[in-house]
Symmetry: C2
Subunit: 297 residues, 2 copies
């Protein structure tokens, strides 16, 4: 199958990721502003530092890039990254290898162009009562296919069943209003995907995960946009409930150990990380998901 | 080629690793004892916590195990692990996949027994003036081959050319007294092996690395033993020179960021880590190399 010119779809997708990025960045800075009493309110409200990223920055040819926004040492956020990127060019053989075994995966040894656009959010919180969170959605295009993928998952270090249930319920509502078959499938996919075999445990309490989504472009884009639109208020609600709870040093320590687990997951198993490192994207942008501080026992 | 019964060689190798482990553990505890004035001398001297590890601990069948010794929060060592293990059984298909492309690598889809014994030492130091260090040697056996592999590398966060030169010189002497061809080859191998492509830098200042060493068993074992015997006094000498130097908070921060790099290397590229996690060895033992605390900017 050869796909028609996809320029208008690509344009819509990357514009949406930019809009979503702008809402997230604005909401997160607002959250820093409203923490103006209580815990850590004596320090200045955190602000994002924004920088442009380039893929294969050592090459002359334009192969795309993105916008990396990182806020560090805030009142509420210890480190949060919001990245968007739109990258393109010839698909490298080493990248194709990573993609083998997937639906419509590009053929080894046969030159293929690709285009990919996505957003990635990872928040590591000051307060161990506030779960860390991850959301990432993307569209991938090659001349003979396109697909959407992504997901969102909650990573509490002190699990609170109220937050967990709320997060899952919101993700279910989001899936259900797009397709009733999605939630059971994408919830299970997250459970499988975010499992750490060597530790025999999951990195968090899961959420949803999907990939290779290629049914009807408008429908798949609408769902992907909905995942982003659902993620933001859900995460803000949970954070709002927990951000002023006092924590102990032992709880902070639990959080740092939990981040060690998160780091192991990201560096050993995460598809997005593997793809990013393999495809020569700015390592600081790919690895902005890594925690500010982590511990291993 | 089918190899004769290798029991006596296996026995010699695993006994040597135990002896070496005992010397290292004793020397490291002694180093804690002699830091009885100056920096951190007000806290108790660090001591190793020793535990047995089992491979595939959920299975009924004995597939080997080891001895994990970890010292934490000492006067000199922030976290140091000394592991030995002797593991055996049928080689799993997923493990064979990791080993493909190497000399005499076992065939996919064809049952193969294996036996492997090794020692691994990783020291993360309290004082950022003291380089972190790694040493690991091992013998691997399958019914149609055996080989030795290993290496040692220095990981300073504040590089000191005197320490770097001394470390390389001692490794060179060790290689040269075994085979004049080794040093140039194994030094370069370490430079290549400990390089982090996505960061475009090395994790430390290198040392030596070798694998698939299969010339004459007595000769290869003697060299492997010599690497261990050389590592210990070399590391102790460097530590002795640096352990009482005062450090600043900014230097400690540099150390924690450097450990982030070390973590990335170990989880993304390290062969031993991949083999350990793939072959179902105790994850705490495989990952004892991870730092007690690491930071990412």
């Amino acid at each position: 199958m050869v796909i028609e010119n996809f320029e208008s779809q690509k344009d819509k997708v990357s514009k949406w990721f930019l809009e979503l990025r702008n809402s997230i960045v604005a909401s997160f800075e607002k959250l820093e502003d409203i923490q103006n009493t209580g815990l850590r309110s004596e320090i200045p409200a955190g602000r994002f530092v924004v920088s442009k990223t380039k893929r294969n920055s050592e090459l002359e040819v334009d192969s795309g890039g993105g916008l990396m926004s990182i806020m560090r040492d805030g009142r509420v956020f210890e480190k949060v990254g919001v990245n968007i990127s739109t990258v393109y060019g010839p698909l490298e053989e080493r990248t194709k290898k990573v993609m083998q075994g997937r639906k419509n995966s590009p053929k080894i040894g046969q030159p293929t162009e690709f285009w990919a656009s996505g957003i990635s959010v990872v928040a590591h919180m000051q307060n161990p009562h506030c779960p860390a969170v991850h959301m990432n959605t993307r569209m991938f295009w090659t001349p003979n296919s396109w697909w959407f993928g992504g997901g969102a998952d909650l990573n509490p270090c002190i699990e609170n069943s109220e937050d967990t249930s709320f997060f899952h319920a919101e993700m279910k509502k989001c899936c259900d209003r797009n397709d009733l078959e999605y939630y059971p499938k994408f919830k299970k996919w997250a459970d499988d995907y975010f499992y750490i075999p060597h530790r025999k445990c999951s990195r968090g309490v899961g959420g949803i995960f999907y990939d290779d989504l290629n049914t009807d472009w408008e429908k798949d884009f609408a769902f992907t946009a909905d995942v982003g639109s659902t993620f933001l208020p859900t995460f803000l609600d949970i954070t709002e409930k927990r951000r002023q709870l006092k924590w102990t040093e032992s709880q902070k320590n639990t959080q740092l150990l939990h981040r060690g687990l998160y780091t192991e997951y990201n560096l050993v198993y995460d598809r997005g990380t593997k793809f990013g490192l393999e495809s020569g994207h700015d390592a600081n942008a790919v690895l902005m998901s890594l925690p500010p501080v982590a511990k291993w026992y």
